[in-house]
C-alpha cells in the first residue's frame, strides 16, 4: 500500500513538469509577496488551531476529572489560548506589513 501511494505521489509530481515551459515571466518579488503572505497565514492559522485544540481538549478533560478546580483550570485555559492566538496574529501583522 505504501509503495502504491509513493508511486502515485511521484506520478502526480511528474505530471506537473509543463510548469518548466513557462517563460521567464515577471519574476518581480512583489508578486510573490502576496502568495507568500497567504501561505504563511494558512500555515500559522492551521498550526495554532492544532495547538489550541490540544489545549482545550486537555482543559476539558481536566475539568471533568476534577470539578473542584474548574476556576483555576479556566484561568489557565484562557491564558493559554490567548498566548497561542497571539502567535497567529503576529503572522497576520506581518501579512499587512509585507503588502
Amino acid at each position: 500500500m505504501k509503495s502504491k501511494l509513493t508511486l502515485l505521489a511521484v506520478t502526480m509530481m511528474a505530471m506537473a513538469s509543463p510548469m518548466f515551459a513557462q517563460g521567464a515571466g515577471n519574476t518581480d518579488p512583489s508578486n510573490y509577496r502576496l502568495a507568500a503572505a497567504y501561505i504563511a497565514m494558512g500555515i500559522a492559522s492551521g498550526l495554532c488551531g492544532l495547538g489550541q485544540g490540544r489545549a482545550t481538549a486537555s482543559a476539558a478533560e481536566a475539568m471533568a476529572r476534577n470539578p473542584g478546580a474548574i476556576a483555576a483550570i479556566r484561568v489557565a485555559l484562557i491564558l493559554g489560548l490567548v498566548l497561542i492566538e497571539s502567535l497567529a496574529l503576529y503572522t497576520l501583522v506581518i501579512t499587512f506589513i509585507a503588502k
Binding site: A72, V75, I78, L79, V82, E85, S86, L89, Y90, L92, V93, F96
Partner: protein, 242 residues
Amino acid sequence: MHELWITKLFNSNLAGPANTVLNAINFPAADQRNPWSDWMVCEIVVFLFVLVFFAVLRARLSVDRPGKAQHTMEVLYDFVHASSEEVVGHEGPRYLAFFGTIFIFILFLNLIGLIPGFDSPTMYPMVPLGFAVCTFFFYHFTGMREHGLGYIKQFLGPFWWLAALMLPIEIISHFARPLSLTVRLFANMFAGEQVYLTFIALTKIIVPVVFIGLHTFVAFLQAYIFMLLAMVYVGGAVSHEH
C-alpha cells in the same frame, strides 16, 4: 483614511493649543492645520467619559441602597482583587489601582470602536505600545521597590556559572514582553475591524452582526488578558524564593 466627525470638530476648534503643545515638546505635527489624530481624540473622549462616570459614581456611593452601577463596579472590583490575589500572591492588591485602570481603560477603548462615528484607539499601534511600555516600566519598578538592588539576581539564573548564558536570554525575553503585549492587543482589534469591513463589503446585512458580536467578546477578552499578563509579570518581579 477619512477623518471622524469628532476629529474634525477638534481640528477646527482646538488646532491652536495642540500645535502649541506639540511645538513645545519639539514634535511638530505633520499637518499643521489638522494636528489632532483620530486615536488621540477618541482616547480623550473615553478618558473624559470614564472620569465623569466614576466621579458621579463616587458621589452617589451608598452602603444601604447601592444602585445598579455601584453593584456592577463592586463586582468588577472584587473580580480584579481576587485575580490579583490569585496571580500575584499575597501582596497583589497593593497594585490594584494599576491593574484596575488597565482593565477599565483598555475595555472602554476597545468598546468605543463599536459606536459608529468613533474609532477604537487600540486599533492604532501606538496606543497599545503606550500601555505595554507603561506596564514594562511598572513591573520593573515594583520589582526594584520590593527587592532593592537584588532584583538583578532574578536575571542571573539559578547558578552563578550560568549567569553569562542566562542574562542575554532573560534580557531578550523581557524585551519580548512589551512587544507581544502591543502586537496582541493591536492585532486583535485591527483584525476585528478588517474582518468586519470585509464582511460588510461581501454580505451586506446579517453576517456582519455576528462579527460585531465576536469583536465585542474579543474586546472584553483582550482587556482581561492584558490585565492578567500585567499581573503575571508583576508577580514574577515581586516573588520571593521560597
